[in-house]
């Protein structure tokens, strides 16, 4: 793990991604544990719609709440939702993809066709449907985004698993009488870690955007709590009066997505033995 971090730090774009991600992670942890300059929910009637200043670095919003503090809280909220949803999606996708490749036949057909159905819906539309059924909230968002991204992980895992299953080392394992569980964990799953890791970083970026989209539409995080999408939505009407309200969360979202994509690029180069040699 430390070796991997070192490799990322040595990778030119990976270094930028890693630093940006670290800054965001610190902000998110501080935002969620209450180490913010102001209470993100505290309203200050006197200091409404103030521009960036020494007291309020990123200015204040319509209710006089500190934008910087709300941003930290919002990033925390966005990170929690995207981490949990991608965690569930990758785990579920890996298990479904592995078993589909291994058992083949009817199970494979059933799983993959169901995934095709899910993929047929645009991501945000499917998420909207799920939230409409269960009602908005943090955990509904997690569930919705997880379901939306599971098919991608299933496919990413099933493809290589199908080819690994036919490799000689799996046949060799059968001649020893190795158990199915041993073959699936040691010979298949272990060789799938690399493609899965790359996919996770990319999915994190998408999940972040999807979560912001849901909140923007009022179906994700509910006010008065902060979230990037919600802040963007609130700022929309005050765009000309207080442009910082729009700029701050927009830039934050963009940088967060960028950091995940840069990390994904770096991981793809590092985990692929072919490009790895070129980097060293």
């Amino acid at each position: 793990m430390t070796a991997l971090l070192k490799d990322i730090a040595r990778h030119p774009s990976g270094r930028i991604g890693l630093i940006t991600f670290a800054v965001f992670l610190i902000a998110a942890v501080m935002g969620k544990t209450g180490f913010t300059p102001y209470d993100p929910l505290m309203q200050d009637r006197i200091a409404r719609l103030q521009g960036p200043s020494a007291a309020h670095w990123f200015g204040t919003d319509l209710f006089g709440r500190d934008v910087f503090s709300r941003l930290m809280d919002g990033i925390g909220q966005s990170f929690i939702i995207s981490f949990f949803s991608v965690g569930i999606a990758s785990l579920l996708g890996a298990v479904l993809g592995l078993t589909a490749a291994w058992f083949a036949g009817l199970w494979d057909g059933a799983v993959m066709r169901f995934m095709d159905v899910l993929l047929a819906f645009p991501a945000i539309l499917l998420a909207l449907l799920i939230i409409t059924i269960f009602g908005p909230g943090t955990w509904t968002s997690v569930l919705a985004i997880a379901i939306v991204y599971t098919p991608i992980f299933t496919r990413v895992v099933r493809g290589p698993a199908l080819s690994l299953r036919r490799r000689d080392f799996v046949d060799a394992a059968r001649t020893f009488g190795s158990s199915r569980r041993y073959i699936m964990t040691r010979h298949l799953a272990l060789n799938l870690v690399a493609p899965l890791t790359v996919q996770v970083t990319l999915a994190l970026a998408w999940a972040l955007v999807t979560e912001a989209g849901l909140s923007f539409l009022g179906l994700g995080t509910q006010p008065p709590n902060a979230s990037l999408g919600l802040m963007l939505s609130d700022a929309r009407n005050l765009m000309e009066l207080a442009p910082w309200l729009l700029w701050m969360p927009a830039v934050a979202l963009m940088l967060a997505v960028l950091s995940f994509n840069l990390l994904g690029d770096a991981l793809r180069d590092i985990l692929d033995p072919k490009t790895r040699r070129r980097l060293a």
């Binding site: 000689d168 001649t175 020893f176 040691r186």
Partner: protein, 574 residues
């Protein structure tokens, strides 16, 4: 004037090719109708040299850093290929200079049928109509001895075996009747009988058209049959060059001498092992058969069976090697896999008797052809060796680790190997890891499926010696599946020849190789290249292997066995 004249050719790779040279000043001439063989092991620069001639090396990240390649066109004009523009080269590549590659799998477009890919050549280069091109493509496939040529045209590359694909590649290269043909290890992936066909075909075409050929190979035995001149390369330099007989009979350079002496060469049964096996039987296979269902149509109806293995019987004694030889698709690997239950057998009995004490319920173990594919790249050697123990429900205690260390040192690997990963070893060392793994459970029978075929020739000899030593020490019985007659001659006590799913001849190795009785065995032995067979006239026998697809309920005819000695039997031929 020479057809091709290469002078002081230098090729480098990477952003600074001058500093990273792999070919250091190679010079040679090629006359029309002449065959130049370039011989060398992996990494000698033989392929790069040939790819520089048609400038394919440019697409692999290489650059010609010095020298000239002067090529004489059909109108007599001379052209320096080393300096020619890409637009000129496009007119020459594939039309005037054809190429056959080493890896047929990656040379064909996987999403197009092979028919479409061959027809394309005929349509573009010879202006044939669709129907004419289809007919020409069918003929081209028949010329390279592909059975059911008309039906195969609609196959995608993945539906054909590696040997079949290489034949398709050769058909494509021959389609435009090139003036120079570069053949980069074209027969390495093929069976000896097919190899002989292809060699015969190449020689015939060379005589008819005056094509100059550059033939690249690692097999100096193959060179004897086709080359007019030989060029031996090592580490990007030419170490010896001259007429065929001079190089083979009076090699000057020590490396040429090494190639001629260290590599197993076939000698009609003269170098068979002299030691005797014990009389204890360890494996008895009786009437083994394997059938795969053929399903056709929309509803995947079961319309027939492929009789891959039919009525195979043999016995194996402790300390004995039974060589199973045959061409690809003959069912030799399927037989091996059926004994290990990797494919379901549809009939027959396999009976194993234990010999080594302390063995488990898995007395038959296997070593696969490709050590890169049979070792999980993410596991250390310790985990790899532990797997058979774990599978047998044993704990990995001190005793197990001691056994691992003992076996590793026994197969000639360094003591610190346990903590290393497969990619840290060479191909030969990886195969040694596979052998050690197969021995973990103290088996009595080891099935070796083309176990040395993927290794470099000089490594092959060392692994064979190791296998013979291990056999004596542990009293192992080997079932040695191979297509390589030179290898089987070195290791087998007895040989079974498999053709179209059945054993056609079985018996004592020396007796069988010296006096083959069955038509197929004779054909097989005649096809083996050897140093003594100079400029051999390989006959082109375009008889196809019979189709193994049979209707449901088909009962195969069983030809009677005929005896030809105390331990030598063959099937009666119709």
């Amino acid at each position: 004037m020479s057809l091709l004249s290469v002078r002081d050719l230098k090729v480098g790779f990477g952003p600074r090719p001058e500093e990273n040279q792999v070919v250091h000043g190679v010079s040679f001439d090629l006359e029309p109708g002449e065959t130049l063989a370039i011989v060398g092991e992996t990494g000698s620069g033989k392929s790069v040299t040939s790819m520089a001639v048609n400038r394919l090396v440019d697409f692999g990240g290489g650059r010609i850093t010095g020298g000239s390649i002067s090529y004489t066109r059909s109108d007599g004009a001379s052209l320096d290929l080393a300096a020619a523009a890409e637009s000129e080269l496009e007119q020459i590549r594939g039309r005037e200079i054809g190429m056959i590659f080493q890896e047929p799998m990656t040379s064909l477009n996987p999403v197009m049928t092979i028919g479409a890919q061959i027809e394309e050549i005929f349509r573009l280069q010879q202006g044939l109509t669709r129907a004419g091109a289809r007919e020409a493509a069918c003929k081209a496939l028949e010329r390279v001895r592909i059975p059911d040529a008309a039906r195969r045209l609609s196959y995608a590359p993945h539906q054909l075996s590696g040997g079949m694909l290489q034949r398709v590649m050769i058909a494509i290269a021959l389609a435009s009747n090139p003036r120079i043909l570069i053949a980069d290890e074209p027969t390495t992936a093929l069976d000896v009988t097919i190899q002989a066909q292809i060699m015969g075909l190449l020689a015939q075409m060379k005589r008819e058209t005056g094509t100059g050929m550059i033939f690249i190979t690692h097999d100096i035995g193959l060179v004897a049959g086709i080359a007019d001149r030989v060029m031996v390369m090592q580490d990007g330099k030419v170490v010896e060059q001259g007429p065929l007989d001079k190089v083979l009979d009076n090699p000057r350079h020590p490396y040429t001498q090494h190639l001629l002496s260290a590599v197993p060469h076939f000698s009609d049964g003269k170098s068979v092992r002299g030691d005797k096996a014990s009389p204890d039987r360890v494996l008895k296979v009786e009437d083994l058969s394997v059938r795969f269902p053929v399903r056709t149509g929309l509803f995947r109806k079961h319309t027939g069976n492929i009789h891959a293995v039919e009525g195979v019987s043999f016995e194996l004694r402790a300390g004995e090697t039974l060589g199973i030889v045959g061409e690809s698709g003959s069912g030799k690997s399927t037989t091996a896999r059926a004994i290990l239950d990797l494919v379901k057998s549809t009939g027959g009995v396999t009976q194993v008797d234990r010999t080594q004490t302390g063995g488990t319920e898995k007395p038959v173990q296997m070593v696969f052809q490709n050590p890169n594919a049979s070792l999980n790249p993410r596991l250390t050697v310790q985990s790899i060796l532990a797997e058979p123990m774990t599978a047998a429900g044993r704990r990995i205690d001190e005793e197990a680790v001691t056994r691992m260390e003992m076996l590793l040192s026994r197969v000639g690997l360094p003591a610190d190997s346990l903590t290393r990963y497969p990619h840290e070893f060479s191909g030969g060392q990886r195969q040694r890891v596979c052998i050690a793994r197969a021995l973990m459970l103290k088996p009595s029978v080891l099935v070796l499926d083309e176990a040395v075929s993927a290794l470099d020739v000089s490594v092959q000899a060392k692994v064979l010696d190791l296998l013979i030593d291990l056999q004596r020490e542990f009293g192992l019985a080997y079932l040695f599946v191979t297509h390589d007659m030179a290898v089987v001659e070195r290791i087998a006590h007895r040989i079974a020849v498999v053709y179209a799913g059945r054993v056609v001849e079985i018996g004592d190795a020396r007796e069988l190789l010296a006096n083959p009785r069955h038509r197929y065995t004779r054909q097989l032995i005649e096809a083996v290249p050897s140093l003594e067979r100079r400029r051999a006239e390989y006959s082109i026998d375009s008889r196809a292997m019979p189709s193994l697809v049979r209707p449901i309920g088909f009962t195969p005819e069983v030809e009677a066995w005929l005896g030809a000695g105390e331990d030598h039997f063959y099937r009666q031929e119709a």
